[in-house]
């Protein structure tokens, strides 16, 4: 394998800027790697080879002309197929959008390009980001690079698998209930869910609008910080994007953890967890203590209500967001003489089982007579969950927890009963409900060699502390440097 595909984003961009390597060479190496591993891995739904080489050529010409193409100069990246890319098919891994070609870039896509990145393709995910294993994709199966019999996690499974398998140097995912952090943990890479409002969602296909957030996936914390820097900040085209200024994330990386107070939520260490996951996370906590952090127990007493709260709010919002797929202006249409039949048949043919289930659950929760008991109640409990975090983070700088109760599970293991899959989101979902940032970093392996993720949860708009703790931990360990079998 070409060593070029192993380079960090920082190193690859530095070499392009120094003209030690061209972006076209990096892009060819990525495309060759994609061609070699995709038949078995299935991380991509669309490989945009010609577009990527043209973009890389343009970057190289700018470098040759003495220009600086930006901090991601010439680096091949992948984008979750729920984020619009001008002229490149964007499907949300759904039959209903299988042929959809956006006439514009999402703001995050445009910002990556403005920073010099080269988009090599679009990555598989659960249909409309609804799932925790990428098994709900209607358009393909993505395997875990560490074990082809296991899922990559979801919903941004392709985004994590592609980065772990060296098909691209970094990627974008979206995280509504854990969809960046979980696949990052399952695939042994770093994933960040930024604070709600930190990153624009303009051009991101909506699932649950009070929860959705775009986040970077990379092979170490510094690369994650670099990609976040490129995409963060206010966007006049997304009214939920915050006007707060964006700090320098790179500057936060080498401050160490001495003096930081870390909280260990007791509700996140529960019976039924895989013992190796608990041991790895507790080992990481001890490591952080040795590095100078102080650790104290904290409580998030409403954790047991988080799954119900999330799956009522998220599905209610999804039922509304997905009402736009009507077969009129874009997307799949099943032709019928009456408008009503056309809507019903187009949606029946276009949506997969889990998407239909969530639309139905959400529509029910919002319907007359049930709104107060379900949707309003869930919004009230959401307030209680937020208050739990406000209290815990009042006495701590960040919280330390597992990302998931187990390492990557096998295909089909959790698909028979939808609730089993929902319950798997227990450690990630509350963070979305509270709108907080969460970082997943590798912290060990189980006996079968599957990666384990450590989750750091921070205060609102304090991505810096998470990156700082993650970088300090990474500097003292080498879990993130391990790579899956070729």
């Amino acid at each position: 394998m070409s060593a070029l595909t192993d380079l960090s984003v920082r190193e690859a961009a530095a070499r392009v800027r120094r003209r030690d390597v061209s972006s076209v060479e990096l892009t060819r190496a990525a495309l060759a790697r994609i061609a070699a591993v995709e038949p078995a891995l299935g991380a991509f739904l669309t490989v945009a080879g010609a577009e990527a080489l043209a973009a890389a050529g343009a970057i190289d010409r700018r470098v040759a002309a003495g220009e600086d193409p930006g901090p991601l100069a010439g680096v091949p990246v992948g984008i979750k197929d729920i984020i619009c890319t001008n002229g490149i098919r964007t499907t949300a891994a759904s039959r209903i959008l299988q042929k959809f070609v956006p006439p514009y870039d999402a703001t995050v896509t445009a910002r990556l390009k403005d920073a010099g990145a080269v988009v090599v393709g679009k990555l598989n995910c659960d249909e409309f980001a609804m799932g925790s294993s990428t098994e709900n994709s209607a358009l393909g199966t993505t395997r875990n690079p560490w074990d082809p019999d296991r899922v990559p996690g979801g919903s941004s499974g392709g985004s994590a698998a592609a980065v772990a398998a060296r098909e691209c140097h970094a990627s974008l995912g979206t995280d509504t209930g854990g969809s960046v952090r979980l696949p990052a943990a399952f695939c042994g890479v770093v994933g960040l869910k930024p604070t709600y409002g930190r990153v624009s969602r303009y051009g991101v296909i909506a699932y649950a609008s009070s929860l959705d957030q775009v986040g970077p996936i990379a092979r170490d914390v510094a690369d994650t910080a670099l990609v976040l820097q490129a995409i963060a900040g206010n966007d006049p085209r997304d009214s939920t994007s915050s006007p707060r200024p964006v700090p320098s994330y790179a500057a936060a990386l080498d401050r160490g953890v001495r003096g930081l107070r870390l909280g260990l939520p007791r509700e996140y260490f529960v019976e039924g967890m895989q013992p190796e996951v608990e041991a790895a996370v507790r080992g990481a906590v001890q490591q952080l203590e040795r590095l100078g952090a102080t650790v104290q127990p904290v409580s998030l007493p409403h954790t047991e209500y988080a799954i119900a709260t999330y799956y009522l709010i998220a599905t209610a919002e999804a039922s509304s967001n997905l009402a736009r797929y009507d077969g009129i202006r874009y997307g799949l249409r099943v032709s019928e003489p009456s408008l009503r039949a056309m809507y019903q048949r187009s949606r029946a043919a276009g949506f997969g089982t889990e998407v239909k289930r969530r639309i139905m659950l959400g529509t029910y929760a919002l319907s007359a007579g049930y709104y107060d008991a379900y949707y309003l109640k869930a919004q009230q409990v959401r307030t209680l969950i937020r208050r739990d975090f406000e209290q815990a983070l009042g006495t701590c700088d960040a919280l330390v927890a597992p990302v998931a109760p187990t390492t990557a599970f096998r295909f089909g293991e959790k698909t028979a009963d939808p609730l089993t899959m929902y319950l798997f989101d227990i450690f990630t979902i509350s963070v979305n409900l509270a709108g907080l940032p969460g970082l997943s970093v590798p912290c060990g392996f189980d006996q079968t060699g599957l990666p384990i993720g450590l989750q750091l949860i921070g205060r609102s708009f304090d991505e810096e502390t998470l990156l700082r703790v993650g970088a300090a931990y990474e500097a003292a360990t080498d879990w993130h440097a391990k790579r899956p079998p070729a």
């Binding site: 042929k99 070609v101 006439p103 604070t195 709600y196 409002g197 009070s210 006049p236 009214s239 939920t240 915050s242 409403h302 209500y305 799954i307 119900a308 799956y311 009522l312 039922s319 009507d326 009129i328 202006r329 874009y330 997307g331 799949l332 249409r333 032709s335 019928e336 003489p337 009456s338 408008l339 039949a341 056309m342 019903q344 048949r345 949606r347 949506f351 089982t353 239909k356 289930r357 639309i359 139905m360 659950l361 529509t363 029910y364 319907s367 008991a373 379900y374 109640k377 869930a378 009230q380 409990v381 959401r382 307030t383 209680l384 937020r386 939808p418 609730l419 929902y422 709108g435 609102s460």
Partner: protein, 95 residues
Amino acid sequence: MALTRDDVRRVAILARLELEPAEEERLTVDLDHILEAFARLAALDTKDVPPTAHVEDFGALLRADEVKNPPAGDEPLLNAPARDGRFFRVPKIIE
């Protein structure tokens, strides 16, 4: 509060989803099972708790009302399932 197949049919109409009989049956079982598990929320006293609709409320961010987009060309129609010149083709709506 057990969910019935009639509930599922009613909700499917609201959601504009045509369901096969087998789908109806499966959804009745699944949704009933899920809602039963979610009934635990009812046990929490939330009488004086305000709902959270959005976590960050920085008010309405208004920008100047300036036209920035050029008049659309053919792009909006390129993804149309059916079109007629500059128009989307749809079934007859008014009898």
